[in-house]
């Protein structure tokens, strides 16, 4: 194929160069004070909770020993029957899969199901890669035990957050992503799926979950 050479050569000619740059160019310096909105690590769960609720993410601040009970209560209210789970040592340690099974729900782990089967599930209960306090966002990263579809396909997404998940600002999230290295896919989730395409009427739940709920461990 000759195209690659072609377009790159055209670009280079357009820039008035005949050969590649000899040294990497230096991009503009990042101006942190004007880019960053959150400057402190203090009170991040509370800030997250406020911002997430503005985004229509339900938030409950809970203690570890009451988590299972509150989670089951929420699942009952939502009339959930089939629940998908990621492979997560964190959720296992909290006893979430056991509590869900004891609650009489049908639960399946991601490594025991197919993507197609997930379309018939009512909810997913997942951990997160990070949570951004500035924007009230959940961040999920695809991995063998945590499929991209888990937080996308079922109509209800429930996330369990722990204190170490929080980063103050989008700036910090991007730094963390860079430090941890590239993986196949990362999504920043800032609310339930929505559209305003029809006469600017807000409708929640287009292609992703209609309900996003976060339990924040204190």
């Amino acid at each position: 194929m000759t195209q690659p050479v072609d377009v790159l050569a055209r670009v280079r000619a357009a820039l008035g160069r005949h050969a590649p740059l000899s040294a990497p160019p230096i991009p503009p310096e990042m101006d942190e004070p004007i880019t960053r909105l959150v400057h402190s690590d203090f009170g991040l769960p509370e800030l997250f909770a406020r911002k997430a609720m503005e985004n229509k993410i339900g938030v409950e601040l809970v203690y570890v020993d009451e988590l299972a009970e509150r989670l089951i209560a929420f699942l009952r209210v939502q009339q959930v029957q089939r629940i998908a789970l990621p492979v997560s040592p964190f959720l296992d340690k909290l006893g979430i899969p056991a509590a869900i099974a004891d609650g009489g729900f049908f639960a399946t782990r991601w490594d025991q199901m197919t993507l197609d089967a997930l379309y018939d599930y009512d909810a997913a209960v997942t951990d997160v890669y990070a949570a951004v306090a500035e924007t009230g966002s959940l961040v999920v990263r695809a991995s063998p035990g945590h499929g991209r579809a888990l937080s996308l396909v079922p109509p209800i997404h429930i996330a369990i957050l722990q204190p170490k998940d929080f980063v103050p600002d989008l700036v910090d999230l991007l730094q963390k992503l860079r430090d941890d290295g590239v993986t196949s896919a990362t999504s920043i989730i800032t609310g339930p799926s929505k559209t305003s395409d029809i006469e600017m009427n807000l409708v929640v739940g287009v292609h992703g979950p209609t309900t996003v709920h976060a339990f924040v461990l204190q």
């Binding site: 377009v7 590649p20 996308l152 992503l177 800032t190 305003s196 600017m200 292609h207």
Partner: protein
Amino acid sequence: MLEITLTLTLSHEYVGEGIGSRNRRANAASLQSAAMARRPFGQQAMDEHTEAFLDQAQAARFDFKTASAKAAGDERLKLAVNNAVMRQYSGRSLALMQLPDADRLRTLAGQIKQHALDHLDYYLEQLKANVERNGGQVHFAADGADARRIILDLAQRANVKTAVKSKSMVSEEIDLLPAMERAGIETFESDLGEFIVQIGHDRPSHIVGPIIHKDRRSIAELFSQYFGTPYNDEPTALTMQARKFLRGKFRRADLGMTGGNFLVAETGQVCVVENEGNARQSITTPRVLVSLVGIEKIVPRLADLAVVLKLLARSSTGQHMTVYTSLFGGPRGAGESDGPEEFHLVLIDNGRSEILASDYRETLRCIRCGACLNACPVYRSIGGHAYGHVYSGPIGALITPLFQGLANFKELPQASSLCGACYEACPVKIDIPRHLINLRRDIVNQRLLGFWERTIYRLWAWSMLSPLRYAIVVRLQRWRLRRSARGSGWVTRMPKIASGWTQVRDMPAPAPRTFHQLWSDR
């Protein structure tokens, strides 16, 4: 001829309107009948004005004056467009106030994009190397035909039967969807607005809100016809109907397609922002993923995304973040059971390298937020279709002539009052008014004006270049205008060339003595 020059001396700026107005009514009437004669989608007629504009756009020489005059007279359209853009525009102002210093952040965003453009060859190579390291493949496409061929080849090689695509302006730019359908690949737009555009054989009229020109009645009629279900114009019901239908498509699709808001050179990733989740669906379910992105979308570092993302959603819809921001750069990882098995990044030039080489390089900073459309008094009056191509509003008036040839769209740079609201709104500070003026200069330099218009302007310039000539012309002109205003004190009719001005308003008679005379008597 003298009379024409005289008229120009006092009201030269209206000459454009005057020239166009002569045939305006006749053109509008014939357009309407052409639109009525065709029924492209079963019995369902396309929006009448949409169809008329499309016909116009397809004509070799786009007639902006006719299209815009017709759009400006469409009250229903104006109402729908204003409802949408005013809400987004006020949302933008509030959202920008959350930033510590929005103005400086816009400057920084502009500098980042400009830096990437100034070193585009380097960053394209870096991006390519990193995407390949992530296990993806990079294809460069010189133009639309090239990109369509590459994508159809990929689809055929992977034995693709069904494709889902998420919203992408560049795919509109190269008419990808019709090409896929012609090749026998069942393809669905999955963004709700774009889906409505697709089933209505319509065209998007706004970069961000593709169907702001449509009301719920016409959408409900369209759905009722397409799905064969009873009429229901409740937005939630319509959305759920589309959700159910498109979920079925996602579940079975072989090929997912996205555009890209940003390309991160240092990590080889595509960044896509959206609210609905259809782009996430596109990168999750199908076994092949193709992202078609313009070469100008590059930012050097992951950290740069903080700057541009904080501005993009705020400028566009007034959100601080869109619901979903996805970063991906290759096929599924080892052991992963969802996500594409193969990932292709198609980087398209399609005229961009020519703009890069020109004085208009800065326009490639555009991040397609739509803020300049929402801010523009002209866009608010005529909507997007009147611009005759996929990009509308101030940025469309600027880049459509650059992409499609100035000769074909020479009216667009004139379709601006140069009020500067677009520049004020632009998150990457593209000086749109200045570039529009430069395009007007190019129109003159390339002799794209008609003989008469050129001659008239020449004569006018000649008369303004000497005090004596100016004084004579002003005197003659005053005499003539005062004569025609005899009795009422108002000029109600001007000669042919400037008659557009007095068709819709009267002009007061000139004062008995000019300012110059009063000044010298002082």
